[in-house]
Structure formats: C-alpha cells, structure tokens
Symmetry: C2
Subunit: 208 residues, 2 copies
C-alpha cells in the first residue's frame, strides 16, 4: 500500500516505522519540508518520500498524525482529496491540562472530523498506542493491540492490514461511534502515566 | 477487614473469592436468603456469613455487586448506613442492547449513585474485570489490573488493599469523575467479546 502520513512529530515516526516494517510505501507530509525530511531520515531504511503541505499527495491510506486542532485544519484543507479514502484519526482531543476531552461528551474527535469531510472514510486507530511503543512494536515482549473503529469495512480492513503487516495486533472495535470509548481509554491511559511512572512507554492490551 | 457484598450473582462470587483469598471476612447480603447462602456455599472455605436484605449489616467496605438499576435502589434503601463508608460501585450501566451507557454522557454511574448518597465514599472498581477472571484471579498467567477511581483517599486505599491481598494489581485511576472513562472502558471491553470470541474471560491490562 501507499501510505501518507500528515505530521512530523513522534506519532508520525512511530506509525511510519510500522508502515515501513510492513514493507509499505510511505510519504510524510509536513508544513515544513525540513521537518518532513527529518522524519524520513530518522526512519532510515524503507521506501519513504516527503512532501510539503499544500503539494499534491496520494496514498491508499491517509494518517492524520497531528494534534486534534491541527487535524481539524488538515481535514478542512484537504477535504476534496480525502473523499472516498481511508483517513486515520489518531487523536486524543485533550484539554490544556490533559485531564479531560474537548469534544462534546456524546461525541468524539473522529465523529467531529467526519462532519467536516463526510465523504472521507474515517477510522479511529493508534490513539491508545504511544509513539515510543510503536517505534519498538511491543512492550515487555507483548505485541501492541491496535483498536480500530469506523463505519467503512474496507477502510478498517486496510488499517488492520497495515497494523498486522507492521507486527501489531489489530482489533475491530466496532462502528465509528465507538471512537468515543476509544478516546476515553486514550485519555485514561494518558492520565495513568504519572501514577504508573511509565513515562508514556506503557500499552493497553486485552489479554485473552 | 470486614467486607459486605450486596448481591448474589457472578460478580458477588468473583469479588467474594478475592476477599476470602486475602483473608478478610465476608458477609453476603441478598434479597433472597437462599441465594445468599448459595454464594457462601460456592465460595467454600473462608470466614463468610449471609444476611437478608433489610437486616442490619456492617462492614468496613460495602460492595454493590448488582446491576445499575438495583444499585440505585440499594443506595436509596441503605443511604444511612452507607454514610462515611467506602462503597464500591462495580457497574457498567449498559442499555438493553449492551452497546451504549444509560447514564448522562458527561457523567457516570458512580457520580449518579454518589448524588443519591452524598455522605458515602463511592469508589469505582472491578467494572473492567469480568466475574470469571476474578474467580481465578488471572488471565493467561497475568495478574488482573483493578482500576480504582474515587475522591476519598482512605476509601480508595481500602479497596486497593482488598485487591492486593486477593492477588490482584490495584491501580489508582484518579478522582471519582474518572469513573466516566472507566465505564467507557467497561463498555468497550464488553462489546469486544464477540469480536475476540473471548466469552467474557478476557481482561484489560496496562502493560508497562
């Protein structure tokens, strides 16, 4: 697959590393070309290119690896080219003190973004996996779970395939509306970091 | 400690088994004395007694091991004797189709119950651990996490001690308001059962 990641932070690096580990092609899109090239350089081996925001980009799957306000901006900016494509929302839309979410209580970032671009096939994923853990692909020898929610089956399947090819364990968590519970779990996981002293290197797993 | 469990279902058996495994004293309170005695009998060894609902009961910790509507009823019925005590709310207040919660989106069962008995020290716990897993205390050799939320430190400490003594791993998940995210996780975990084929024998764990 051709995967486009919008964003040049740690989550772009983390998800990008799994995309390349799975043998897929990656394009990193950044507002700053130098920062995009920095991600490509950090990722090292693999089929990776960069583009500056505003330039044309394709991709079988588009990953919004940015904070929620920037994700809203990107969706508005790229609405037309996201139409009909799987678009991965990884955000945990936390407030300034990181102890609550800013989206309406009966909604989620994914549902709010979907309203901005109704023709895109939004998928919630990677919001419960921290960047550091994605770069290694596991925690304490245990494979990361990637919880995936969305209304378009083909879009969810594509994201599941990317996760699986990258050595992760995809789990279909249900419809797009389930993003609300995934984001609640994302917030919970973030707030537990201080208590656990785990430094954003933990992962949430369903043990069976 | 003296622990009182209100309820005679599988969660009463699951939590009761951990209470007794930790060497604490247990009283099972049921509307039906025969059902309470059935729980005591199933639990087998340990210091366990029964009481019929309406009779006097004490306890250093009171566990409401019933469904949400019955928990509301019990809190209203026992408001006076719950005052000042740790009261454990284990509920996932699901709707009839088990795919959403019936409490207001910006609240939680724990917060709603707390409004009915403001002098009780409500603690959310055991809503992400299924009954079957509590009876064995582990899943696939991994210790169960017990996520605990509440506003009263002493009440949380008592519940954490019960969990730890029973061979479980208590985690302080923050204030009572965090029950909202714990219930979202409880709902998510329930809805994943069909997808995972795990038959309510899985557990959610934070791997560090």
């Amino acid at each position: 697959m051709e995967v486009t990641i919008i964003g040049t932070g740690n989550m772009a690096r983390g998800i990008g590393s799994r995309v390349l580990a799975g043998g897929h092609r990656l394009t990193v899109v950044g507002k700053d070309q130098g920062r995009a090239q920095g991600v490509a350089s950090d990722l090292g081996k693999g089929d990776v290119s960069t583009a500056v925001a505003g330039a044309e980009f394709g991709g079988d799957v588009i990953v919004l690896a940015v904070y929620y306000p920037d994700a809203r901006e990107a969706v508005e900016q790229y609405r037309d080219r996201l139409a009909g494509k799987p678009v991965v929302d990884i955000t945990n839309p936390v407030n300034e003190t990181y102890d609550a979410l800013v989206v309406p209580a009966d909604s989620s970032a994914t549902q709010e973004l979907s309203r901005l671009a109704p023709d895109a096939h939004f998928v919630k994923a990677f919001n419960t996996t921290f960047a550091r853990t994605l770069s290694s692909g596991e925690v304490s020898g245990q494979q990361l779970d990637v919880l995936i929610a969305g209304d378009d089956s083909a879009a969810k399947d594509a994201v599941a395939e990317l996760a699986r090819d990258g050595g992760l364990n995809p789990i279909d968590a249900g419809p797009q509306s389930r993003a609300r519970e995934l984001e609640a779990l994302g917030l919970l996981h973030m707030t537990l970091q201080e208590q656990l002293g785990s430094g954003f290197a933990s992962t949430v797993k369903v043990i069976t």
